[in-house]
Amino acid sequence: MADTLSHVSLAGVALGLLIGTNPTLTNIIVVALVAVILEYLRKVYRTYSEISIAMLMSGGMAVALVLMGLNDTGATVSIQQFLFGSIVTISTDQVWMLLIVTLLIITLYLIFRKPMYILTFDEETAFTSGLPIWLMSILFNVLTGVTIALVMPIVGALLVAAILVLPAAVSIRLSKSFNGVILIGILVSLVGMFSGLTASYYLGTPPGASITLVFILLFGLTGLALKLTKQSKRNAFLRK
């Protein structure tokens, strides 16, 4: 889903550049809209969710390219920034928006932690427990979409998905509990972001790519560490 939304998000940016408004704003609107469509398609084509994702993803990319083609006033520089991301394009407004979204997400998480737990565990169990699963899924998608739209100018469309998914992948390996995974995920995110950005500053590499590589490194390291502890436990057991 993160991949789809980040591709669609490019179309949102292209649209913004074409009509000459703030691209982040058009982006948020487009991505939120698509997040709703995505949920609808997922419901209708339950067994072919791959198809609806592929359709929206390539569609988003195609619309972005067509819109860029229509707009030949030299906005290509800007779209480059959105594709690959650069920390220098971030404005004070965006920092504020990021802060607001962060606070919003934390608040929503604290309030809806329990319903979200059941919804992610099993939708049918959630439904029979009386939860409005459709509304909740849509809100969750929209929130993810808005987050992607805001993060995109910083890390670039191509790497948004990696940044959303990899910290969770690392933390799922490290924690047994739902809350533990979320907390460790946040921690891994912060560590990866800061070290990636630092590396990108000193080495002159693109920030998004550097952060992603740091996450992949962390993923590999946790895998290795877990394997080693398992092995040493087994050895200790055998020695007894």
């Binding site: 319903p115 565990f121 009386g130």
Partner: protein
């Protein structure tokens, strides 16, 4: 008090009729078993009752309130519950505690009573010692037991169970049925359970709904209340 009312229900997948002309009720205090050969659309019927599918004809009414006039709480164990998402990051304790959320705890902290229920239900399936394990690491039988524990932790007014005892040994099944029977007799819970073990369960259930195929026609509800038990009437009279 009526918890489930199915009235002349028919269900079609696309054009193909799957269920037809099905009517029965499940009341508070009923232990109803739902049987039928493989492919008799028992799960489809349950999903219609729960609102996960919409009947093509007829109606299903699920009571809004329980017998105390509070919101009816349903506890559902889907078929093959043990095959739940392997990678879902949760401990056994978290999962069973989540059974308490529908009891007015979506936005409130769990209290002493909730913790007592959770401990009791985990102990009753012999999984209390495993409470800090990750659910993905459990065996199929253990996953089944914690799913059952989760539903007992909810302490629902209406149990809807889809072959919950598959793979259990005879003794565990017996204990499970006794526990359900206690819930229906003493606590006046409604129970609707899809099962294959007709004979074993006959002495516990007071209603029998059997889906039977007529030659060349869809499944239809053939018999109801066919194995009413005298003991049931005794227990409901006092």
């Amino acid at each position: 008090m009526q918890y489930i009312e199915v009235n002349k229900l028919a269900f079609h997948y696309e054009d193909e009729p799957v269920l037809e002309n099905i009517s029965f009720q499940v009341n508070a205090g009923d232990f109803a078993m739902l049987t039928g050969e493989n492919g008799a659309a028992k799960t489809t019927l349950l999903r219609n009752i729960l609102g996960l599918l919409k009947p093509s004809k007829g109606s299903v009414t699920l009571s809004k309130k329980n017998r105390y006039g509070e919101k009816l709480v349903v506890g559902y164990i889907p078929q093959q519950v043990a095959s739940f998402n392997e990678g879902f990051p949760s401990t056994v304790l978290e999962l069973v505690q989540s059974g308490r959320y529908p009891r007015g705890k979506w936005f409130k902290k769990l209290d002493e009573e909730d913790h007592v229920h959770v401990k009791k239900s985990l102990t009753s399936v012999g999984m209390w010692d495993m409470r800090h394990k990750k659910i993905g690491e459990l065996s199929g039988g253990q996953k089944q037991r914690i799913s059952i524990a989760r539903v007992f932790a909810t302490d629902p007014d209406l149990f809807v169970l889809d072959e919950p005892t598959t793979g259990m040994d005879v003794q565990s099944r017996e204990e499970f049925y006794k526990l359900l029977k206690h819930n229906s007799d003493v606590h006046q819970k409604g129970i609707l359970m899809v099962t294959h073990d007709h004979e074993e369960i006959r002495q516990y259930a007071n209603k029998h709904i059997e889906l039977v195929r007529k030659e060349g026609s869809p499944w239809r509800c053939f018999s109801m209340d066919s194995c009413k038990e005298p003991s049931k009437h005794l227990s409901s009279s006092h």
